[in-house]
Symmetry: C2
Subunit: 141 residues, 2 copies
Amino acid sequence: MNILEMCDAGGATVPVEATAEQAIQTMLDRHVGAVAVLDDNQRIAGIFTERDVLRRLSVSGREPGQTPIREVMTTPVEMATLDTTPGQALGTMVERHYRHLPIVDDDGRLLGMLSIRNVLQARIDLLTRQLDEARSARSSR
Amino acid sequence: MNILEMCDAGGATVPVEATAEQAIQTMLDRHVGAVAVLDDNQRIAGIFTERDVLRRLSVSGREPGQTPIREVMTTPVEMATLDTTPGQALGTMVERHYRHLPIVDDDGRLLGMLSIRNVLQARIDLLTRQLDEARSARSSR
């Protein structure tokens, strides 16, 4: 299983011209904790997460509807590709305290948004299958 | 392993008299995504999460420093006790789309805050141990 198969379908995005309020509304509508911010070439310009809302908006006194997303997004963005293994992706997220990692193609275009929960759930599924196999191999002897 | 052992040490709390801004600052300082709101008897009056910040504050135009936490917290709170199994806790969180579940004693006082990530990580640890045992039992025959 590659990391793209672990993602929820599609990735939530907003254009770099969006306001912070539009990004927050997208997170609420899509039930996700992060959106990718795309430039005019559909490449990732930044990422904006629930945590960014707390850190950069909620206690700043800034009005989300008047705040350009580019001023409160995180950039540069740590990203994964289809060559990134689940273990490498999890390592990056744990080490950097990220809950989300965009997966991009060779041109830097978004393929999906990986969450740490996706990776942990996939690991549980894999371990469960391996355990079933190990136990059935044992009982079949 | 009971669910309390899965929690990060302590649970972040604010008094019910706090403002939303104080609750947000506590989440930022403690690096957690939820705080328990405690009444004067140290019992849980509500819970306030990152998601509540997005839903009830960020797009509301309300000023966090002027907003009593009791007006934006979630209540009544779904809670777990020491008798709740990890599977039951995970089931509740998945079904209700909660990422956090306070663990309380018989008097409703907070023992710890369980996160869905805690539960998934503990499940991975358990499965990994079981898989090691199953494989070593097989190879020792």
